[in-house]
Symmetry: C2
Subunit: 462 residues, 2 copies
C-alpha cells in the first residue's frame, strides 16, 4: 500500500515529529546498502525505545504497512533494503547504547544500534573479548550482525554471532514484547526463540535488546604466513592443520589471481608465481602455548608443499603479513569494473575440490574469478570479475558463472551464504539449496511470527 499523510501524522504523534522523516534527502539516504541496489522507503522512522517500536509495529500491522529494520545498511545482500516500500525503522540514531557489561557473568547487554567495534573496544577495556569480527566491524551494528548471523575471520576458533547470542528482547508485529533466552549458558524452558531470531534477516520480529556472551581476552597473539605452489596444496594444508589439533584464530588465504592483483596495485614484493598464500593468527595465554601451535602449523604446511614459512617477529611484521589480505578486495578492480562477489562456504575438506571447480567454471565463461577468504571455516569469497560491466554479454557470462559456482557449492554439501545472508541478492537461488518442503516450512515459520507479512517482505526467497 501507499503511505498516506494520515499515516505520517500518526507516526509523528507516536514517536515525535523529529523522529519521522519523509523528505527526499532522507528517503535517498536510507535507500541503499552495500549491494548498491536502491529501494526508496516511503518514510524513515527513528524509534527512541522499545515502546516506540511497539507502537509503530502495532499500527503498521493494523494498516498492512511494510517495515524494514535497518542498522548501518552495510549488508551485502539487501537485507535492510525496503524492497516493498513502506517504512524503514532506523535503529542507529537512538537505540545505540551499551546497556550493561556484566563482568561477573561475562555478558554484555546492548541495544541493536551499537557498533560492533564499539562493543569490542568497551569489553576489551575490562579484559573481556567479543570475538565475532565481520569485515564491516568498524561500521556495522550488532543488530545487523545478529540479523544476518555475521561471521568474520575469527570464526574458525571462536564461532560466529549466533554462538554469542544468549538472550534477546524483541517486538512482534502485533506490538507484543517477547523475551527469549537468558544470561545463563543452560536454559531449556520453551522453544529456542533466540536461536531462530538470529539470522532471520529482520523478517520475524524487531530486536530491541541483545545479550551477548563474552569470553576472557587471550593474552597474546602471533601471526605467520605460508607460501604454496598450488591452491590445492594450500587448501589441503588448511584442513590437515586443523584436524592435527590446532584451531588457529584466523586461517586466511589469497589465491594466485588475488596475489597478482594486490602486487599490481601495491608492489609489496609478493611472490607473483605462488599458487596461494595462507596467513594465520594463533592466540593464547603464554609464549609456549603459541609456539606449540605454530610448530604444528609449520609441520603441516611443510608436509603440504609450503615453500616459505614466516613468523612475524612483532606487530609491524604481523601487519605486513596481513597487508595483502586486508587489501585483497579493493585490489581486484584490476580485473574489471564489475565485481559479483559471493560468500559461499563448504566443509573444509571440500575446499580443494571447490577451488578446482571454480577455476574450471571461470575458464568456461571466460571471466577472472580471484578467490580469497576464511578457509579455516570453509568460507571462500569468490569474486567473479566482469571486465566491462556495461557489456550485457560479459555480464550475462558472469551471472552464469555465479550460478554454476552456487550449484558446485551445493553439490559439495556447502551453503549459498556463509555470512552475508540471502536477502534479495540470493533469493532466486533458494530452490537450488532447499526442497519445496523446506521452503514451505520457512513460510510457515514466517507466518507464525508475522501472519500479515509486514516485516521485511520479499526477502530470503520465501
Amino acid at each position: 500500500m501507499q503511505l498516506q499523510q494520515e499515516d505520517l501524522n500518526r507516526f509523528e504523534k507516536l514517536i515525535g515529529k523529529e523522529n519521522v522523516a519523509s523528505d527526499k534527502a532522507h528517503l535517498i539516504a536510507y535507500c541503499y546498502d552495500a549491494t548498491r541496489q536502491r529501494y526508496e522507503p516511503e518514510a524513515v522512522l527513528f524509534p527512541r525505545n522499545e515502546e516506540d517500536v511497539q507502537n509503530i509495529l502495532r499500527y503498521c500491522n493494523e494498516k498492512g504497512i511494510a517495515v524494514t529494520t535497518r542498522g548501518a545498511g552495510s549488508g551485502f545482500t539487501g537485507g535492510s533494503l525496503p524492497a516493498s516500500g513502506g517504512i524503514v525503522l532506523a535503529m542507529q540514531r537512538h537505540m545505540n547504547q551499551i546497556l550493561e557489561i556484566d563482568m561477573q557473568n561475562m555478558v554484555a547487554r546492548v541495544q541493536p544500534g551499537v557498533l560492533n567495534m564499539e562493543l569490542q573496544k568497551a569489553v576489551e577495556e575490562v579484559g573481556l573479548f567479543y570475538p565475532p569480527d565481520p569485515a564491516s566491524q568498524e561500521y556495522s551494528t550488532i543488530g545487523g550482525n545478529v540479523s544476518e548471523n555475521a561471521g568474520g575471520m575469527r570464526a574458525a576458533k571462536y564461532g560466529i554471532t549466533k554462538d554469542y547470542v544468549m538472550a534477546l528482547r524483541a517486538v512482534l508485529p502485533n506490538g507484543e514484547v517477547i523475551r527469549a533466552g537468558k544470561k545463563t549458558i543452560k536454559d531449556v524452558a520453551g522453544f529456542n526463540v533466540a536461536g531462530i531470531l538470529t539470522a532471520s534477516e529482520g523478517s520475524l520480529a524487531v530486536m530491541t535488546e541483545i545479550t551477548l556472551k563474552l569470553i576472557a581476552k587471550p593474552k597474546m597473539k602471533k601471526t605467520a604466513m605460508g607460501i604454496f605452489p598450488t591452491v590445492t596444496e594450500a587448501m589441503d594444508a588448511v584442513y590437515k592443520t586443523m584436524a592435527g589439533g590446532v584451531t588457529p584464530v584466523a586461517m586466511e588465504f589469497l589465491d594466485k589471481l588475488t596475489i597478482q592483483a594486490v602486487e599490481q596495485k601495491f608492489a609489496k614484493g609478493l611472490p607473483k608465481d605462488a599458487g596461494a598464500i595462507l596467513i594465520t593468527d594463533v592466540d593464547g595465554n603464554s609464549e609456549q602455548e603459541l609456539d606449540a601451535q605454530l610448530d604444528i602449523i609449520k609441520a603441516s604446511f611443510d608436509a603440504n608443499g609450503c615453500g616459505e614459512f614466516k613468523i612475524a617477529a612483532d606487530e609491524n611484521e604481523a601487519a605486513d603479513l596481513w597487508f595483502a589480505r586486508r587489501n585483497a578486495s579493493p585490489s581486484l578492480a584490476v580485473y574489471g569494473n564489475k565485481k559479483l562477489n559471493e560468500d559461499i562456504t563448504v566443509p573444509r575438506s571440500k575446499l580443494p575440490q571447490l577451488l578446482t571447480k571454480i577455476y574450471e567454471i571461470a575458464g568456461k565463461y571466460d571471466v577472472n574469478v580471484p578467490c580469497f577468504g576464511h578457509t579455516g571455516d570453509g568460507n571462500v569469497h569468490t569474486n567473479v570479475m566482469v571486465k566491462d560491466g556495461n557489456d550485457p554479454q560479459q555480464l550475462e557470462r558472469g551471472h552464469k558463472a555465479i550460478e554454476e559456482i552456487f550449484q558446485a557449492t551445493v553439490d559439495l554439501e556447502g551453503t549459498l551464504s556463509g555470512e552475508h545472508g540471502i536477502g534479495l541478492a540470493k533469493a532466486e537461488f533458494m530452490p537450488m539449496a532447499f526442497s519445496e518442503a523446506e521452503l514451505e516450512l520457512f513460510r510457515r515459520i514466517k507466518h507464525a511470527f508475522d501472519p500479515k507479512g509486514i516485516l521485511n517482505p520479499g526477502k530470503m526467497g520465501i
Copy 2:
C-alpha cells in the same frame, strides 16, 4: 483417539510385524522414564530407517494418532512419556548407528538412538572430543540429548548440546523430510531450523540424523578441591574465579547437607562442618597451562574464605576428590524417601542470593533441601527431600517449597530448567516464567511444524 486393530495392521504392513508391539509387556516397558510417572502407550513402534519414520508419521498425521518419540527414557521431566496415549516411536533398537566420524571436518554424523557415551568413546579413539556429558551419559541417547538440550559438568567451558548441533535431518508430521544446517561453521541461508529443533522436546519433528561438531581432545586434565566455611563464600569464589580469566572444565559444588549425607553413607572423612566444597577440573595441552589455571583458582578460592585447597597428584586422588560429588544424589535418601529434584539455573553472580533464599524456603516449609551441582554455569540441583513421601501433608509442604524456589529463580533472572527440560513435570510453571504473548508464540511455532498437534501432545505447557 483409541488405536484400532486396523491401525496396528497398517503399522505392521509399513515397518514389519516384528517392529510393532502392542502386548502388555512392551506397553509397560515403554511407559516410564526417570520421573517414575507411568503412561502406557497403545503401541510401540521400532522404525528401521528414515523412510519408516516418514510412513509412520504420514499415517498418524492423517488419523490424528499421538506420536511420542523415545530414546532411552532417561529424562527427568517426562518428555518421552506418551501422556496422551497413541504410539511410542522407539529409536534405540534400529536407528542407533554412528554413520560417520569425519576427521577432516571434525564432525560426527549419527542416528538419534546412539548412546552419548558410545559416541564419546568412538571420537576419543581418534583424538577428537564430544564435550556434552549429561549425568546420564552412559545410557542416554544423542537424540534425547538434542531434544532436551542436555547439559552436564563440562558446560561452563565447553557449552551444552545445542552448541554442538551443526545439522539435522528430521521428518515433519506430514511425512516430509527436512534437512537443517550444514557441516560448516558458517551458514546463513534460511531460518535456523536446527536451532529451534534442538530443545524442542520432540514436539516439532522427529529427528533421523544428527551432525555434531567435535573438537580436538585436550591432552591433559587436573582436579582440585576447595573447602569453604559457608556456601555464600563458595558461590562468590565461583563467579569471581571465572571473571578472573579462568574457565574451568567443571566447577561443581556440594552444600553442607549434601556433604553430611555423603559422609553419613560412605564415611570418607569429609569435613562435616564445612559450608560447602567446590571440586574443579581444568584441562589444556601442557602442564604449564594447567598450573597457570590452578594458580588463579587457588588465589580466588583463598581470597573468598577457602580453608583448605588440594590438588590431586594423580588419577586416583582425582577420583577420590570426585567421589563425594559422584555419590551426592544417591546419598540424599538419608533425608527422606521422596526427592523432588529440580535443575534451576541462574546467572553465576546470583548464586549466593539463590542459595540463601533456598535455605530460607527450606526453613519455612520444614524440609531439607540439600543442593549440589554445576555452579560454573549457575546450574543448581535442588533436592527438596520429603521425609515421608506417603504423608500428604509433608508432600504438600515439599511442593510448596518447590514452587517458591521456582519463583525465586525467575526473580533472579534464572530459568526453570537448565538441562532437564519442561516436559510434563514443569508444564504448570511455564506461566510463571513466560508471558501470555510468549506462550502464544510457542503455540504458533508448534502449529507451524505440527498443525494437527500429533507430536508429543501435552508437553512443555503449550
